[in-house]
């Protein structure tokens, strides 16, 4: 009689986790540690305050880019409105920062949580959409939000809901954490928060939500048939991306002190998507590349004597090249999206 019981392994060593995986993970961890040590201690020692500020911007934008890339590459949701949520995070942080004495980490978490709630509220109806329609609706929602933001303006320490001071001379700058009041200190602080955000995203990607997102991205119908609660997991992804973006917005508030509404434009949404695609959406490292491209490349070009307008041409060319290469690869493999 046949039995369904599995035969015991002939050799106990056969069920041990393959050593190659362990070695690979160890090498990856070592590379990450080396990069972090260089970014945290060597880079500030070698560069001026100007460049440290740019690297702080890169760390902040890397979080937004990683969130956008995660939604696109891992869940198949295209959000062209992340800059709007980024603005929400900044606004909430500034309003609470002027109104309370809460420690900065609490401000970051609260800003992230409120942005996540707003993101979910916006995302809930939008999740009925897919592909092009979702991209356009998120872009339009962001465009509408940015008009509201331009009229509401960022708080400057005044009274009322908006917290805007009427006389410009009396306007205040957003405070920074006590341990990171200098530009160098704030750079390290932003880097630590960015690492935590990336760790949060990575933890999701290698666990149950990550597998559910992968199945949704592959085929929503198949994911439903396999018992995946697609609505919950899509909202989860939306909430996580919004939370990360809100936290990045909170970091921006302390970084620039008095942000301008001109930082948050529809154009920035488009540029963000371009650098996210250029950086790559298959891995979280793409977010790091995208952050560097968006924040550091324009300054590098200016340093070399080129107008920063060239970055638009570079981003457009990069986006087109990336799409052409991936289209060629799809063509070669005989795949049609």
């Amino acid at each position: 009689m046949t039995t369904m019981e599995a035969a015991p392994p002939a050799d106990a060593a056969a069920v041990v986790v393959p050593s190659r995986f362990g070695r690979r993970a160890a090498i990856q961890a070592a590379i990450i540690v080396v990069i972090l040590v260089v970014a945290m201690f060597v880079l500030p020692a070698l560069t001026s305050t100007f460049w440290v500020k740019n690297f702080t911007s890169a760390a902040v934008l890397a979080i937004v880019a990683a969130a956008t890339g995660m939604l696109y590459g891992r869940v198949g949701l295209v959000a062209l409105g992340q800059i709007g949520l980024y603005g929400v995070g900044t606004w909430v942080t500034m309003r609470l920062g002027f109104a309370t004495d809460w420690p900065y980490p609490v401000l970051i978490l609260v800003a992230g949580a409120i942005t996540a709630v707003i993101g979910v509220l916006l995302g809930l109806p939008a999740l009925r959409l897919h592909g092009l329609y979702l991209a356009l609706v998120t872009l339009m929602a962001a465009a509408a939000f940015l008009i509201i933001l331009a009229n509401t303006k960022f708080p400057t320490g005044g009274p009322g809901f908006r917290g805007v001071v009427i006389e410009v001379a009396n306007s205040r700058q957003m405070r920074r954490p006590d341990i990171a009041e200098t530009d160098y200190g704030y750079y390290r602080y932003a880097l630590v928060v960015a690492v935590l955000m990336f760790a949060l995203a990575a933890a999701h990607l290698v666990s149950k939500p990550g597998r559910a997102w992968a199945s949704i991205r592959q085929s929503e119908a198949a994911a439903l048939a396999a018992g995946v609660n697609t609505v919950t997991y899509k909202l989860w992804a939306w909430a996580l991306a919004s939370f990360m973006t809100g936290c990045a917005g909170a970091l921006l508030a302390g970084h620039v002190g008095s942000p301008s509404t001109f930082t948050f434009t529809v154009e920035q949404n488009i540029i963000l998507m371009a650098v996210v695609v250029m950086g790559g959406v298959a891995s979280l490292w793409g977010g790091v590349i995208a952050g560097l491209l968006a924040a550091v490349l324009p300054e590098v070009l200016q340093d070399w004597g080129f107008s920063s307008n060239w970055t638009l041409i570079l981003f457009g060319t990069g986006l087109l090249t990336n799409l052409l290469i991936t289209s060629w690869q799809l063509d070669k493999a005989g795949i049609k999206e």
Partner: protein, 301 residues
């Protein structure tokens, strides 16, 4: 809330902007249905054409004005055809989103080029001959550009409707919009028909560039480039297929947006520019309320 004596001038202005939305929407919609490409570079191409027109009028002494206006349409058509014939076929295996991202890259390149070429030169304004001639109706000044915009939108949408129904190329376009592969199997010259759609869209792009410059009163490259986003609102309301629904939606958006400016209260006036987005988002979510997940894995709206 509203100052009724101010309603009429804003109505005229709203109809003119509605007409530009309608023309842009028609160009975007027909191209999308025929080729599957939502041309995000529509505004950037129009802006490039308009800036070249300004350059020819203001920076050269050999070019007559009429030739400069023609140059706007020619340049816009050439750029659109370049993208449609050279780049777009390479994205044929991509989904509509991938195809749109390609046009987005093209828009960024054009915007960067315009900034490099002309941003340092301020006061870039030219007026169409119709923009300087006015007449009065109900104590409101109306420019001929506003009249031309409304009439031209009517002609364009009516003409495209007739073209799609009565001509061989139009029938081929409808066949491709319905099912590209079956149309191809039935012998429809897909590439040639697509080129015709790109050509028509390019011509509209140039005309919209000229009208926008005259209606806005300036050549702000960023504003003109990203004008495509509110211009997409009537296309979305038309569910990317109903030309006349898009036409009326365009005028409704233009008029509501302009009339909010006539309000005595601050907030409707301040937030009037959200009108196309609010209209589009509400419409899209309404149409998507009964979504079905298909077996093939594609999701219908």
């Amino acid at each position: 809330m509203f100052n009724t004596s101010q309603l009429f001038p804003f109505l005229i202005s709203g109809l003119a902007f509605g007409a530009v939305y309608a023309m842009s929407g028609t160009g975007l919609l027909v191209l999308y249905r025929t080729t599957g490409v939502l041309n995000f570079a529509f505004g950037a191409i129009g802006a490039m054409g308009a800036n070249i027109t300004w350059h020819l009028i203001e920076k050269t002494d050999w070019c007559p004005d009429w030739l400069a206006y023609v140059a706007c349409v020619v340049v816009a058509t050439a750029l659109t055809l370049f993208y449609g014939v050279v780049l777009a076929p390479r994205f044929a295996n991509r989904d509509p989103l991938g195809k749109m991202l390609g046009t987005l890259g093209f828009a960024l390149i054009l915007l960067g080029l315009m900034f490099n070429l002309w941003r340092s030169q301020d006061a870039r304004v030219f007026r169409l001959p119709t923009g300087t001639r006015r007449f009065e109706i109900f104590d409101s000044r109306v420019t001929w550009t506003q009249v031309v915009a409304v009439l031209f939108a009517l002609v364009v949408v009516g003409g495209v409707t007739v073209f799609l129904r009565a001509t061989k190329t139009g029938t081929a376009m409808r066949a491709i919009a319905n099912d590209r592969e079956i149309a191809s199997l039935l012998g429809v010259p897909v590439r040639r028909v697509e080129t015709a759609a790109w050509l028509g869209s390019g011509v509209l792009c140039g005309i919209v560039g000229l009208l926008l410059e005259d209606l806005f009163g300036s050549l702000d490259m960023g504003t003109m480039t990203f004008f495509v986003i509110p211009a997409l609102a009537p296309v979305l309301i038309a569910q990317m297929r109903r030309l006349w629904v898009g036409f009326f939606a365009a005028f409704a958006i233009g008029v509501v947006e302009a009339e909010l400016n006539a309000s005595n209260w601050d907030w409707p006036s301040q937030y009037r520019k959200t009108t196309p987005y609010v209209f589009a988002i509400v419409a899209v979510l309404w149409f998507a309320r009964k979504r079905t997940v298909m077996i093939s894995g594609r999701v219908t709206r």
